[in-house]
């Protein structure tokens, strides 16, 4: 073999070796990088759900009793009850009517827990403020403690069943509509045409539910963050289920009812993991094609990945500082300030607000059960925010899943001597209500007297937090979170402690040791190699 051939051969050999070493890498990298799931049309696996196509079986306009001249809304209810003669009793047992649910407290006693004895993080407590708060009650005339919860005629049937869209409860009238044209906050309220409404009743539409649930807290999207008026007519970008270009589902498609008891729990007032509306009821617990994603559903709620942001249209209230309330302009009018988005940043009656849009949720473990701060509970540690409600569950609890939550933070009025949250008398035309007189002391005296609790005469403000699990405004699958949203050093679950998550967790010490081990090996090799090289020369 001459020299030329030899070099050629050597070159070929080197080339071959190079190929043998590198080719598998190129192949592997190309395969892996091209193996990401292709976007294909996916059929979503659905059980237990069929779009509602049933037309109303009766024409209410034909009923004689509904053609009489109605003077009051109660007359309409009485007319309804003549046929639906068991429904009144059913309603009496629902939380929509009672605004309460049975709850076994720490002593083992069953109590009624609801809006009467909890605090919320917005307008605080309903007692002494009823006419304003109960404008969303499905009844007429819950003005004070003396409301008769057994009077069936006070049930407001039409707030849920009106199909005309013309029926409105007045914001400060304890659940009643107006009897004459009245203005409120720049909006005109007209007396309803009861005949037209009564003859046009049907299954609740989005607007019916929304008339209360959109506006909790006194304005659109104030409380929930994921339920607001845009849902009445929305697109799949905002809510894949309700979007008219999506599945176009109504509220009741998921929140089915049994004897008027509607499925679903909201943990601002609910306490137990029962009769909940879940994604799994239609989607099953293993809805993905990917096995690892299906394994995630063991401990991660669907909502966590599929609701990447909430308040996608209107902003929601994230923070309410009552301590700054009371400011007036020089002319004596109440100070009102709006931020650059046109949302209210300050109101003299209420204090400072913070609003946010397209908010990333916070994440917590939740097993479906919750605890609440009940009116009169002592605050043990005043340095921490008072937990208005507490979502129970943690990593060690096998029934707990990670869920997305809107956390609403506030500063509420507090009795530092008795260490209890004060339920102030806010609403009313009397001489002590805060919104008329702007005197926290007077409002506290009245408010605490109504709830039968002591008031030391001293008040301060304390940080509070309230947790709102998110289930609406579900995004399309392509917009769901991806692995690295959580499986990364500073991902969305960065603050969720108590367990090891790949990609997020590591041991600083171990990584340092490992890195040093590699560096040391490398340095040792280089030094040894150089010494060998030079010692041979």
């Amino acid at each position: 073999m001459d020299l030329k051939e030899l070099t050629k051969n050597k070159f070929l050999r080197a080339l071959l070796l190079f190929m043998v070493v590198l080719l598998p890498w190129f192949i592997a990298i190309i395969i892996v990088n091209n193996s990401s799931e292709k976007e294909e049309a996916v059929t979503v696996k659905i059980i237990n759900y069929k779009a509602d196509s049933l037309s109303s079986p009766v024409d209410h306009s034909k009923f004689e009793i509904l053609q009489q001249k109605f003077e009051t809304p109660q007359q309409v209810t009485e007319a309804c009850l003549t046929c639906h003669n068991k429904t009144g009793n059913d309603i009496m047992h629902t939380s929509h009517w009672k605004w309460a649910r049975p709850y076994v407290n720490e002593k083992g006693d069953t109590i009624e827990l609801g809006k009467k004895n909890i605090i919320n993080n917005f307008c605080i407590g309903i007692e002494s403020n009823e006419p304003r708060c109960t404008s969303c009650h499905i009844g007429y005339g819950w003005k004070n403690k003396d409301f008769d919860f057994t009077a069936e005629k006070n049930i407001d049937c039409i707030i849920c069943h009106d199909q005309t869209g013309s029926y409105k409860k007045f914001p400060t009238a304890a659940g009643n509509p107006v009897t004459e044209e009245t203005m409120f906050d720049g909006k005109k309220f007209l007396p309803p045409n009861f005949n037209s409404i009564a003859q046009n009743v049907g299954l609740p539409k989005r607007e019916n539910c929304g008339s209360c649930h959109y506006f909790g807290g006194g304005g659109n999207n104030v409380k929930h963050g994921d339920i607001e008026k845009v849902l009445t007519k929305t697109t799949r970008d905002i809510d894949i289920h309700m979007g008219i270009d999506g599945e176009n589902m109504t509220c009741t498609a998921c929140h089915a009812s049994d004897k008027h008891d509607i499925q679903g729990q909201l943990y601002s007032v609910s306490s137990y993991n029962q009769n909940r509306t879940t994604c799994e009821q239609c989607h099953t617990e293993t809805p993905h094609e990917n096995k690892i994603l299906n394994q995630h559903t063991d401990r991660v709620a669907c909502q966590t990945c599929h609701i990447p942001t909430y308040a996608k249209d209107a902003p929601t209230k994230m923070n309410w500082d009552w301590s700054t309330a009371g400011r007036h302009n020089e002319d004596g009018s109440i100070t009102v300030e709006k931020d650059s988005n046109g949302t209210m940043a300050y109101h003299g009656m209420k204090g400072d607000f913070k609003w946010e849009k397209n908010v990333k949720p916070e994440y917590y473990w939740f097993n479906g059960n919750a605890k609440h701060y009940l009116v009169g509970d002592k605050v043990e540690d005043t340095t921490l925010p008072v937990q208005i409600n507490t979502l129970l569950g943690n990593y060690a609890d096998a029934n707990a899943k990670i869920i997305p939550v809107k956390v609403h933070r506030a500063k509420q009025i507090f009795d530092p001597i008795n260490k209890i949250l004060i339920v102030p008398h806010l609403f009313g035309k009397d001489s002590t209500s805060y919104w008329k007189n702007f005197d926290w002391n007077k409002a506290s005296i009245t408010g605490m007297k109504v709830v039968n609790l002591p008031y030391s005469g001293k008040y301060s403000f304390i940080n509070t937090e309230m947790y709102w699990p998110l289930s609406h405004m579900v995004s399309a699958r392509e917009d769901a979170l991806s692995c690295v949203d959580c499986h990364s050093r500073d991902g969305r679950l960065a603050n969720l402690a108590g367990f090891y998550m790949p990609g997020r967790d590591y041991s600083q010490i171990l990584d340092t040791i490992g890195f040093l081990l590699i560096i040391l090996s490398f340095v040792a090799v280089v030094i040894h190699g150089l010494l060998r090289y030079f010692s041979k020369k």
Partner: protein, 442 residues
């Protein structure tokens, strides 16, 4: 003695290089899952880390099987013998050009440090990685059936294992450069061949064994009743037999004409009395009834001091027309000598009979050129013969003159056949039978 030897078998190399790829790939995807960098994307990294893990597991199962079946697991038995010497070598000796303190052989491929490290990998690091990996895979949300309280401990051990493997790879790759030349060891792991120390005793035994198997001298072995226990290919060929089964168990008398059986009976009788027959000419009757001539040697076989049978070699002399009759009787007292030379003509091995014929000690012969054993005038004949053999031909008999150590010459019949390695002729071997007695008689 150093010799190019096949030390890494095919599966071993496949296993090693697959392991290389898999470990690199697992590290690459694993540290992406550890959030050390982004490359494949987290989802892909997880998916392919799992696939590679399963592939690795399959490979491990095969490798375990292989190690036990081949007995190669013994290579990994740890020893402290020469451990300090090996450490000293890497710290001091290597810089002074000192020789390796331990010698690689087929039976001892690893130095004490390698044994210790590889065993550690096989028994500690890799099992720990597999077990923690499985927990990682199947106890993603660990509560059932055993509550292990989170992945933390297992994940951290898995990470530690990964770091140790990287450190191992760096050191391992570097230490491959400490062979004869920097690339020797890597080449060996690619081709399987490396120049290593060979055990002369082992080699000798191996040569003798192969000599019988592949030689063109026929080998036979009889039991105490004179029935055939074994014959080699060359024997079958000489008797024009195709199937060994036709011979095994049959009495030797079927190999002779009726008249000649007595002659053989006599030989057999003598051997069973403990005598060694160095060479006796014989006429055989082949399977097809044709006749052939050969010279045979015979010696008793022993088990526990008792004669259990006899064995010997035969060399065909059918075509040896020159004085064949004389030869028949003349080479009576000779004995089959065995030799083996490499392709350049240097002696690799010889047996005692050969040494006896030539009057040399073994050490004086091995590694020397065959010219040692020939007169100058005869040298070209042998050169021609070697050239033929190197082309793959065999020579079944040829009369040659040898030069003994004391300078005297003598005649013998020689057989020669090529020695193959990887389909290439790398040497030649054969038997010689002394016929010098004929010469004297004649």
């Amino acid at each position: 003695m150093k010799k190019s030897t096949y030390i890494y078998r095919r599966f071993e190399r496949f296993w090693h290089w697959s392991q290389v790829l898999l470990i690199f790939f697992l590290v690459l995807t694993g540290f992406e899952i550890h959030s050390s960098y982004e490359f494949f994307g987290f989802e892909n990294a997880v998916k392919w880390h799992n696939i590679a893990a399963w592939a690795f597991l399959v490979l491990i199962v095969f490798a375990i099987f292989w190690h036990f079946v081949t007995g190669e697991w013994k290579q990994y038995m740890p020893t402290t013998k020469y451990m300090m010497a090996q450490i000293n070598y890497y710290i001091f000796g290597i810089f002074k050009g000192a020789p390796h303190p331990t010698h690689k052989t087929v039976y001892n491929k690893f130095n004490p440090l390698q044994r210790f490290t590889y065993l550690g990998l096989k028994l500690l690091v890799i099992p720990v990685q597999v077990i923690t990996g499985f927990i990682y895979m199947f106890y993603m949300y660990p509560e059932n059936p055993i509550h292990i309280g989170g992945l933390s401990v297992f994940a951290l051990i898995h990470t530690l294992g990964a770091f140790s493997l990287i450190a191992f790879v760096i050191l391992h790759v570097y230490l491959t450069t400490t062979g004869e030349t920097p690339l020797t060891s890597i080449k060996a792991m690619l081709t399987g061949w490396e120049v290593v120390d060979v055990d002369e005793q082992e080699e000798h035994a191996e040569h003798l064994k192969n000599a019988v198997k592949y030689s063109i001298a026929g080998y036979y072995r009889l039991d105490e009743n004179g029935n055939f226990l074994d014959v080699n290919e060359a024997w079958l060929k000489m008797y024009k037999c195709t199937d060994k089964e036709q011979i095994i168990g049959k009495h030797y008398s079927i190999t002779r004409k009726e008249d000649d059986v007595k002659e053989l009976d006599e030989v057999v009788k003598q051997v069973f009395e403990g005598k060694i027959i160095k060479a006796v000419p014989a006429t055989r009757i082949c399977k097809d009834g044709s006749l052939g001539k050969h010279i045979l040697s015979a010696n008793p076989t022993y088990a526990g001091g008792d004669i259990t049978g006899m064995e010997g070699f035969i060399i065909d002399i059918t075509d040896l027309d020159v004085n064949s009759e004389h030869l028949h009787y003349a080479v009576k007292n000779s004995q089959a000598g065995y030799y083996r030379v490499n392709c350049k003509g240097y002696y690799e091995d010889v047996n005692d009979a050969w040494l006896n014929l030539y009057g040399y000690e073994r050490e004086e012969v091995l590694g020397n050129h065959y010219s040692l054993s020939r007169t100058k005038e005869d040298l070209h004949i042998l050169d021609d013969m070697i050239a033929k053999i190197m082309k793959g031909k065999s020579i079944s008999n040829m009369i040659a003159t040898r030069k003994r150590k004391d300078g005297s010459v003598a005649k013998h019949i020689v057989s020669a056949n090529p020695v193959y390695k990887n389909e290439e002729v790398v040497g030649m071997e054969g038997f010689i039978l002394d016929i010098s007695n004929i010469e004297t008689k004649l």
